[in-house]
C-alpha cells in the first residue's frame, strides 16, 4: 500500500524554516526570549513565569525517564461527515499535521517516571485546538484499556477546546466512550491522574479530565466547561481575570492542587509513590514488546 500524501509531506518537509525563529516574545510580560533558553526552562518564561503551551512530545520528554513507547498511532482521522466549509476537514487535518508534527491531538503510550511504569496520554492544543474527535477518543480509550490489562497507573495531560465540530455527534460520543473506559479502569483499583493544562474545556473537561482520582492543575491554566467568551457573550458582562484559572478552581475546590511546570514531574512521582506499589507494577511494562526497561 502506498504511503499517503500527507505522511510523505510530513516526512519530507523542510524544518529549517521553523528553526529560523530563534527568539520568542513572551505574551505575558513582553520579554524577548531566546528559544533554546525557553526550551531549557520547560517553556516557562524566565522573567515572569508565564507557562507557554507545550507540544505533546516536548511534554513527554520533560517527564519520562528514557524511552516512550507510543501506542494508538494506527488510529488516524477519517472524514465521517464529509465536512466542508472554507476548507474540507481533511485539508484542515493535513495543515495541522504539518504545523504540529502530530497525527492527532493526543499522543499515548508507555513510559517510566522515576522508575514507575505508567500509561501516559498527552493532548496537544496545536492540533485542531486539542479537540476530541473519534481518534482522540479511541486513543484515550485504547490507552486505558491497555493500562487496565497491565494494571498500570495512568496519567493524562489534557489540553482541549472541547469536542471536534467536524466530526459531529461521533465526536460527542467519545465523552461516553472515554468515561466508560476510565470507569472500568478505576473500578479495578488502578490510579488515574489527570493534569489539566491550558486550556481544558468542554467535552474533555466534562468527561475524563474531572473523573480522576487526583486532579492536578498546571499553574495559570484556563480550565472550565463553557468557554470564557461563550459565558461573556451569554451574560453580556466581563468576567474577572482569574475566572476559570487553575488557581481559581483550587479555591473553588474543583482540583486537588496547582503545580508549576518546574515542580510537575517531582509532584507526579510523589503522587504515584503514595498510591502505587512500585514493586507490583514494575514487571508490567515487560509485556510491552518495544519497551526496554
Amino acid at each position: 500500500m502506498a504511503i499517503p500524501d500527507w505522511l510523505r509531506r510530513l516526512r519530507d518537509r523542510d524544518v529549517s524554516a521553523e528553526d529560523a525563529a530563534l527568539w520568542t516574545k513572551c505574551p505575558s510580560c513582553g520579554e524577548m526570549l531566546y528559544r533554546k533558553d525557553l526550551e531549557a526552562n520547560l517553556s516557562v518564561c524566565t522573567k515572569c513565569n508565564h507557562h507557554f503551551r507545550m507540544s505533546a512530545y516536548d511534554r513527554i520528554n520533560t517527564l519520562v525517564d528514557g524511552d516512550f513507547v507510543e501506542i494508538g498511532m494506527e488510529f488516524l482521522p477519517g472524514d465521517p461527515l464529509g465536512w466542508v466549509d472554507k476548507r474540507s476537514y481533511p485539508e484542515k487535518l493535513e495543515a495541522d499535521r504539518l504545523k504540529s508534527n502530530l497525527t492527532e491531538a493526543v499522543v499515548t503510550g508507555f513510559a517510566t517516571l522515576d522508575g514507575f511504569p505508567v500509561a501516559l496520554g498527552v493532548m496537544d492544543f496545536s492540533f485542531r485546538g486539542g479537540t476530541m474527535g473519534t481518534v482522540v477518543g479511541e486513543r484515550i480509550t485504547n490507552l486505558l484499556e491497555e493500562a487496565r490489562k497491565r494494571k498500570l497507573p495512568c496519567i493524562v495531560f489534557t489540553a482541549s477546546g472541547g469536542a471536534r465540530m467536524e466530526e459531529g455527534m461521533l465526536a460527542l460520543m467519545q465523552m461516553a466512550k472515554t468515561t466508560q473506559a476510565v470507569e472500568r479502569f478505576m473500578s479495578d483499583g488502578n490510579l488515574f491522574v489527570t493534569v489539566l493544562t491550558d486550556p481544558t474545556t468542554g467535552g474533555v473537561s466534562a468527561s475524563f479530565a474531572f473523573q480522576s482520582d487526583l486532579i492536578v492543575g498546571e499553574a495559570r491554566a484556563s480550565i472550565g466547561f463553557a468557554g470564557r467568551r461563550v459565558i461573556e457573550q451569554t451574560l453580556r458582562q466581563k468576567l474577572p481575570d482569574n475566572f476559570q484559572t487553575a488557581e481559581f478552581l483550587l479555591e473553588k475546590g474543583h482540583i486537588d492542587m496547582v503545580v508549576t511546570r518546574a515542580e510537575l514531574r517531582a509532584t507526579l512521582v510523589r503522587l504515584l509513590d503514595y498510591a502505587v506499589d512500585r514493586k507490583r507494577v514494575a514487571p508490567a511494562l515487560k509485556a510491552v514488546p518495544e519497551f526496554a526497561l
Binding site: R11, M73, L76, V84, D85, R164, G168, M169, A171
Partner: protein
C-alpha cells in the same frame, strides 16, 4: 424567530380556521368539509413534508412541542424527588419515581418552560451542576433498587453561567456519565426535542437511545458551531446542515437506535397520541432489556459506545516507516 411557527401562519392558519368553523356548523360529514380537509392535508405535506435539518431544529424548538414534562405527566404515576442533597433543587432537571406501563422506573427529564415565568424557573431547560448531581443520585438509587432508568432529553445545552462554572459543571456532567456507566439496570433515553451537547449526553449514555423524528441531537447548537467555526451565529442553518443532527443521520451512524415518527407538521399537531407512542416505544425497549443481568447490561452498554468511531486504520509498521 422560529421558521416553523412562521410557516404555520398564513394559508395554513386560514384553512384551519375555515375547517373549524365548518365543523362547528355542520354535524355530519359534508363534501365541503372533506374537500377542505383534503386541501389541508396537501398543504401540510407541502409545508412540512420534506424538512431541512435547520427546519427540524426549529421543529425541535417549537414552543407548542410536547416537552419532557408532558411525557412525565402521561406516566401512570409519578412522585418527584428533589435536590442534590447539598445545595439546591434544580428545576431544569425533573427527577423521580414513576410507573411506566405498570412498571416501576426512575425518571429523569430536562424541562423547559412554556412561558417566561416558567422558563426562568426552569432556566430554559439548561441544567446546572446541582441538577446533574440530583440525576446522579437518582441513577444510583435506581441501580440500588433495580429500577430501570428512563430519561427524556430536551436541552439546548448545560447551563453556561458563572455559578455553574463555580460549582464545577464539568465534574457534575462527568459524574453523571460515570454513574450511567456503572448502573446495572436498563437505561432508555429519548431525545424528545433538543439534544444539546454534553448537557444532553449526561443523561443519555443509555442502552437504547430513541429519538422523536424531528428532534435533533448535536455536538453543539448550530448557532454555537457557526460562532465557533465562522464567527457568525447567523450561519446556524448552514451549520445545522453540516452537523448531521437529525434522527435519520444519527440512526445511520449507529448513535440512535430508533426514531418515532411524528405527525405531519410535528409532534404538537397530535401531542397526546405522539406522547403515548413514545411511551409505548420505551415500554417495548424495556421489555427487551429487562430480562438481562446487570453485568450483561453494563458490558453491552460499554460495547455500544466503545465501537463508535470513524478513522482510517494505518498499519503500525507503515506509519513507523513513514514518520522516521
Amino acid at each position: 424567530m422560529n421558521v416553523i411557527v412562521e410557516r404555520e401562519k398564513g394559508p395554513l392558519q386560514e384553512l384551519e380556521a375555515r375547517i373549524a368553523a365548518l365543523r362547528e356548523r355542520e354535524t355530519g360529514d359534508s363534501s365541503d368539509l372533506r374537500d377542505l380537509e383534503e386541501k389541508y392535508r396537501i398543504l401540510l405535506a407541502d409545508l412540512f413534508g420534506n424538512l431541512t435539518p435547520w427546519e427540524r431544529v426549529n421543529m425541535a424548538r417549537h414552543p407548542k412541542r410536547p416537552f419532557a414534562g408532558d411525557y412525565v405527566d402521561a406516566l401512570d404515576q409519578f412522585d418527584e424527588l428533589h435536590g442534590d442533597r447539598h445545595l439546591r433543587d434544580d428545576r431544569a432537571l425533573v427527577g423521580g419515581l414513576a410507573k411506566l406501563r405498570g412498571r416501576r422506573v426512575v425518571v429523569l427529564a430536562q424541562q423547559k418552560g412554556r412561558d417566561t415565568k416558567e422558563n426562568i424557573r426552569r432556566n430554559f431547560g439548561m441544567v446546572s451542576p446541582e441538577g446533574y448531581r440530583k440525576a446522579k443520585r437518582l441513577m444510583e438509587f435506581a441501580s440500588r433498587f433495580g429500577l430501570p432508568i428512563v430519561t427524556f432529553v430536551d436541552t439546548s445545552g448545560a447551563d453556561p453561567g458563572i455559578a455553574s462554572e463555580e460549582h464545577a459543571q464539568s465534574e457534575a456532567i462527568a459524574s453523571c456519565l460515570v454513574a450511567l456507566s456503572k448502573v446495572g439496570v436498563p437505561v432508555v433515553a429519548t431525545i424528545v426535542g433538543e439534544g444539546g451537547s454534553g448537557g444532553a449526553l449526561a443523561i443519555a449514555l443509555a442502552d437504547r437511545v430513541i429519538m422523536a423524528e424531528n428532534a435533533v441531537y448535536s455536538v453543539a447548537s448550530p448557532e454555537g458551531c457557526a460562532a465557533i467555526l465562522w464567527g457568525d451565529a447567523a450561519r446556524a442553518p448552514e451549520a445545522a446542515e453540516r452537523l448531521k443532527l437529525t434522527s435519520a443521520d444519527l440512526i445511520g451512524f449507529g448513535i440512535v437506535d430508533r426514531a418515532i415518527e411524528e405527525p405531519l407538521g410535528g409532534a404538537h399537531r397530535d401531542a397526546p397520541a405522539f406522547v403515548a407512542r413514545v411511551l409505548d416505544a420505551i415500554d417495548q425497549e424495556l421489555r427487551v432489556l429487562e430480562p438481562r443481568k446487570s453485568n450483561e447490561l453494563r458490558d453491552a452498554r460499554y460495547e455500544k459506545f466503545r465501537r463508535i468511531g470513524a478513522w482510517e486504520n494505518e498499519s503500525r509498521a507503515r506509519l513507523a516507516t513513514a514518520l522516521t
